[in-house]
């Protein structure tokens, strides 16, 4: 430390208070830039490239212990599991053949009607590495990133339902915001009655709220909520949650509905990222048609082509 060779009697530079003011202002500016405008994604990306291998290395000791334990305990479990799985394969084979037929028929029909594409089998299997180290958010980190073709906004599912959505992409890892995160919303419909709704994460516990449902709407406890597919982000038909409680208080305009997520958003290990094609948000307006008829623009309500 050179400071000890040349002792300065007086400290130089700005005072601690001035420094505090400066750094606090910079920090607040960065926070605003990050929160409001999401302007600093590239900084995150850059630093995460360096951090990822270090994080992986720090997980090695835990994994080692875990694997050692598994080595001794898994053998018996695997044998029984294998037996049940074999039985299940036999059971499913018949169903699979039937499903193939139905899928072929459906492909033919959808090409005929040029209907919206639903998600196919395209997807990237990923493993959950860890929870986000932040007690305020409900996010997990998976081991696939932009180098595997992922981008922000893709939907993540597990074997039973929607897990969440990709929100931050690193090169080798990315962050999944669980559907139970506060204000994380998924457009859903009740499978039984067809009532459309929005499932919004609660954030406090692992439950999901369904706001803005009129008191008289046909929703019961036990109704399955599946994605409705009308937003263009979540493909239709994925299971999201099951209605757990419906509170119809006439004092309020809307019913208070709470649901439990179908997927084990807190405990699963492998997830699938659906890499569907990016849907256009809005249909392109027919510019030429309007140019040809300038006079008719204001005569009636503007019609938008609905695909």
């Amino acid at each position: 430390m050179s400071a000890y060779q040349e002792e300065n009697f007086f400290t130089r530079g700005p005072s601690p208070l001035a420094r505090l003011t400066f750094f606090s202002l910079v920090a607040i500016a960065i926070m605003i830039a990050d929160h409001r405008f999401q302007a600093l994604a590239f900084v995150r990306l850059g630093v995460s490239v360096v951090l990822t291998p270090i994080e992986q290395a720090m997980m090695l000791p835990g994994k080692l212990v875990q694997n050692l334990g598994l080595y001794f305990s898994e053998q018996g479990r695997l044998i029984t599991e294998n037996a049940t799985l074999n039985a299940k394969v036999m059971e499913l084979t018949a169903g699979h053949q039937q499903a193939q037929l139905i899928r072929a028929e459906r492909t033919y029909l959808t090409t005929l009607s040029e209907a919206n594409k639903r998600f196919g089998d395209r997807g990237v299997l990923a493993e959950i590495i860890r929870d986000a180290r932040n007690p305020f958010v409900r996010k997990v980190v998976i081991n696939k990133g932009s180098s595997h073709g992922l981008r922000a906004g893709l939907v993540v599912i597990d074997a039973v339902g929607v897990v969440g959505q990709l929100t931050a992409i690193g090169v080798l890892t990315s962050e999944v915001t669980l559907s139970t995160e506060k204000n994380q919303s998924v457009p859903v419909m009740a499978l039984r009655s067809g009532v459309r709704a929005i499932a919004v994460g609660n954030g406090r516990d692992g439950s999901i709220d369904v706001p803005f449902i009129p008191l008289g709407a046909d929703i019961q406890v036990g109704d399955a909520l599946v994605t409705s597919g009308i937003d263009g982000t979540y493909p239709a038909g994925l299971s999201v949650a099951t209605v757990a409680s419906v509170d119809r208080n006439p004092a309020f305009q809307f019913a208070r509905i709470s649901a439990t997520p179908t997927s084990g958003t807190e405990q699963h290990r492998f997830v699938k990222v659906l890499t569907q094609e990016e849907l256009k948000e809005y249909p392109q307006p027919d510019v030429k048609a309007e140019e040809n008829k300038p006079g008719r623009e204001r005569t009636g309500p503007k019609r938008r082509e609905i695909r």
Binding site: M1, A3, Y4, P16, L17, R19, L20, F23, S24, V26, A27, I28, A29, I30, M31, A33, D34, H35, L40, V43, R44, V47, S48, L51, I54, E55, M58, M59, G62, I129, R130, D131, A132, R133, N134, P135, F136, V137, K139, V141, A168, E175, K182, N183, G203, R204
Partner: protein, 174 residues
């Protein structure tokens, strides 16, 4: 062991650079471990603790600028809002600069109490920032993180002082 500057029992060498950097690297690695569940809420922020220690012991080398940079690094690592840890670290270092002479005169447990106050303030800022962004408080357990840090403070102080202590012949570390 009396580690206060006023004590005549211990003489200290200047801090070797590798101890300074090494302690930060180790603290950072510990923070990067996959904490989850309850442990995620109560684990002490080791980087902040080490930063606080050096800001008090070595104010010439460790200042608010370093705190700011480390904070940004932790923000990315914790997938927090960028700038959140940076703000907290800068505030803590500032308070350390303000209070260091007074704090270091006291015994290690008493220093721990000061640390408890400082880190509680840091935790309060963190909670306030998160609440202002519309997030929910995930539990009351968060208050134990500063407490654990305060308990760890004497141990860390002794541990980081050991490499640079010069003992008199015959003197023992008690």
């Amino acid at each position: 062991m009396d580690l206060t500057p006023a004590s005549r029992d211990s003489m200290r060498l200047p801090v070797p650079l590798r101890l300074l950097i090494g302690s930060f690297v180790v603290a950072f690695l510990i923070n990067l471990m996959p904490w989850r569940g309850l442990a995620l809420q109560v684990y002490p922020d080791f980087v902040l603790l080490i930063l606080l220690y050096w800001a008090m012991q070595e104010p010439r080398s460790v200042g608010q600028g370093l705190g700011f940079l480390l904070g940004l690094l932790m923000d990315v690592a914790d997938s927090a809002l960028l700038g959140q840890h940076a703000l907290i670290y800068v505030v803590v270092v500032f308070l350390a600069q303000l209070l260091r002479v007074r704090v270091l005169q006291q015994s290690l447990p008493a220093q721990g109490l000061h640390v408890l106050a400082l880190l509680s303030l840091a935790q309060l800022i963190s909670v306030g920032l998160n609440l202002s962004m519309g997030r929910e408080l995930s539990g009351i357990w968060l208050i134990f993180s500063p407490l654990l840090s305060a308990i760890l403070w004497p141990a860390i102080s002794v541990f980081l002082a050991l490499p640079r202590l010069r003992l008199r012949p015959g003197q023992m570390i008690s």
